[in-house]
């Protein structure tokens, strides 16, 4: 295992410390229990928006703390949900008096830890709502599974709900907008290589030199199936077809197309995938009105990508376009 780290057990603490130093104008790092909040503190009267989850998905979530997006983020150990003792002070730090919305990716660990924290905050009189993100169509949603996972679509939920909170929407509205994004966003990913969790020291799964894992999550979990080496155009189709189908995308609909890198894939390859996806969508008669290409929800140094579609309407488009000023996403400011 070769990594730019010191002690494998100090990876998250040191990385978040460096992040805080590099972006001291935007964020404040609270070391123990570990969470990140906006440099200016909670905005009085504004609905707070927080998220969190295991580390290893950078810039998710800490990179999205700032104006127009999150008020606080709670990074857990690598690929491990944070615990209530960190989620609770982060929620309190995000509260400007109008309540707090928690954006939670649908994993048993995240759900349980955020649920516990939310109950405890509620008990203290803080109004807390939860928006559960489950955009991964690789996982069948049924009574017999833990339900769909939350993956890269989370970034879009955070951006849009963050913009709603920033423009002054109330708690119900911010929660509703978050749920509306969840209802209209779908993703699916693939891996060319596994990743190595620092404290494990071994790759998350084994993959042959000529194998590609389709339907992976963002924790180095193995996917649903393996295929041989295929061209980017074919791989893009493997991802985009189930996404479009699950979304029930009809001709003439407007979408945001998000090609996300898993951390170790060069940007140039993500654009090759973008090209393939844009062609498929054009053939379907869908209108790609907004795009996002880059490493926004990663799995350490994994090579691979995911595709996300968000069905747009005027409201979502306006909230997407609204100014945002965070370490990892910035425009209009």
């Amino acid at each position: 295992m070769k990594k730019l780290i010191n002690d494998p057990r100090a990876v998250v603490d040191e990385s978040v410390e460096g992040f805080g130093l590099a972006h001291a104008d935007l964020v404040r790092v609270h070391p123990d229990p570990l969470f990140v909040s906006r440099a200016g503190g909670a905005v009085p009267g504004k609905v707070g928006l927080i998220s969190g989850g295991g580390s290893g998905h950078e810039p998710l979530h800490s990179g999205y703390v700032g104006r127009g997006m999150l008020d606080a983020a709670v990074p857990g150990a690598v690929f491990t949900s944070p615990t209530p003792d960190a989620i609770i002070p982060a929620t309190q730090a995000a509260d400007g008096g109008a309540g707090v919305v928690l954006v939670v990716k649908n994993y048993t660990g995240d759900v349980l830890n955020f649920e516990t924290a939310a109950e405890m905050c509620q008990a203290e009189g803080l109004d807390v709502r939860t928006v559960l993100v489950d955009d991964d169509v690789a996982v069948e949603d049924s009574l017999y599974t833990a339900g769909r996972r939350g993956v890269a679509g989370t970034v879009l939920v955070e951006k849009v709900a963050g913009a709603a909170a920033e423009r002054g929407d109330g708690l119900d509205e911010v929660e509703a907008i978050g749920r509306k994004v969840v209802a209209n966003v779908r993703s699916m990913g693939l891996a060319l290589t596994p990743c190595t969790v620092p404290h494990a020291g071994k790759t998350s799964f084994d993959l042959g030199e000529d194998e590609i894992e389709i339907g992976i999550g963002i924790h180095g979990e193995p996917g649903r199936r393996r295929v041989g080496l295929e061209p980017a155009d074919a791989l893009t189709e493997h991802l985009l077809t189930p996404v479009m189908e699950d979304l029930g995308l009809a001709e003439g609909e407007r979408v945001l197309l998000f090609v996300n890198g898993m951390g170790g894939t060069p940007l140039s390859e993500l654009y090759i995938v973008y090209r393939a996806a844009a062609r498929i969508l054009a053939d379907r008669g869908a209108l790609v009105e907004r795009s996002l290409v880059g490493n926004y929800t990663t799995s350490l140094e994994m090579q691979g990508c995911s595709l996300t579609l968000l069905r747009l309407d005027d409201e979502l488009t306006a909230l997407w376009d609204a100014p945002v000023h965070t370490p990892a996403l910035r425009w209009g400011a």
Partner: protein
């Protein structure tokens, strides 16, 4: 055989920390196969925190020992296992009340409360390939125990058998469920850690300096 008192509870949790540390890599590897490879690391971090806490502030009562453990597990383990084990120990602590030592029925009640806490939080049933598949047979086996030691021994044996029996199952809860059929053929890491912890409870019944 020592009484199942406060000192036993402390020995149990310290012994659990020792065996979890010893099996850290094995638990990581089991979780790597059908999960995300952090179970051994998470559990080791949590139990090490319990030991550190005990070193600093030894538990004053049996229920107190389990409650301190619950709090450390809840705040240090994270992931799915943290809140589940945390709830289990919290409920177990409540079930014990102010008892100074446990007899057979008290052990059975304690384990049942722990299991019920896990099910309440995680909503997994038997056969879903989770730690519930080690807890449930353990609870059933403990019910017949003549004394505390016998109840714990029966529970540990049953948990080990239950953990082994998760191998052919297809996971329906937790991260392993994403794999569908591909989850079959592997032991569930949480069931294995449960068996280790219940075996530690038996080991701890030996006198401290015996």
């Amino acid at each position: 055989m020592a009484a199942l008192d406060t000192a036993w509870a402390e020995r149990w949790l310290r012994e659990s920390a020792r065996v979890i540390a010893e099996h850290r890599q094995e638990l990581i590897d089991l979780d790597r196969a059908i999960g995300d490879g952090d179970h051994g690391e998470n559990m080791d971090r949590g139990f090490a925190a319990i030991v550190a806490k005990f070193d600093e502030e030894p538990p004053a009562s049996l229920a107190g020992a389990l409650k301190m453990a619950a709090m450390m597990l809840m705040s240090k383990v994270g992931g799915a296992a943290g809140p589940l084990y945390g709830t289990a120990f919290l409920r177990a602590s409540t079930a014990i009340g102010d008892a100074e030592a446990l007899d057979g029925p008290a052990v059975a009640r304690m384990l049942a409360a722990g299991r019920d806490g896990i099910v309440a939080r995680g909503k997994a049933g038997p056969g879903d390939k989770t730690m519930v598949d080690a807890w449930t047979p353990a609870v059933d086996a403990a019910a017949g125990g003549a004394d505390g030691h016998a109840a714990l021994s029966a529970a540990a044996d049953a948990a080990e058998a239950g953990a082994q029996a998760t191998k052919p199952l297809v996971a329906r809860k937790g991260r392993a469920s994403y794999l569908g059929q591909r989850s079959a053929g592997h032991l569930d890491p949480g069931a294995v850690s449960t068996a280790l912890i219940l075996r530690a409870a038996v080991t701890a019944t030996a006198e401290a300096d015996a």
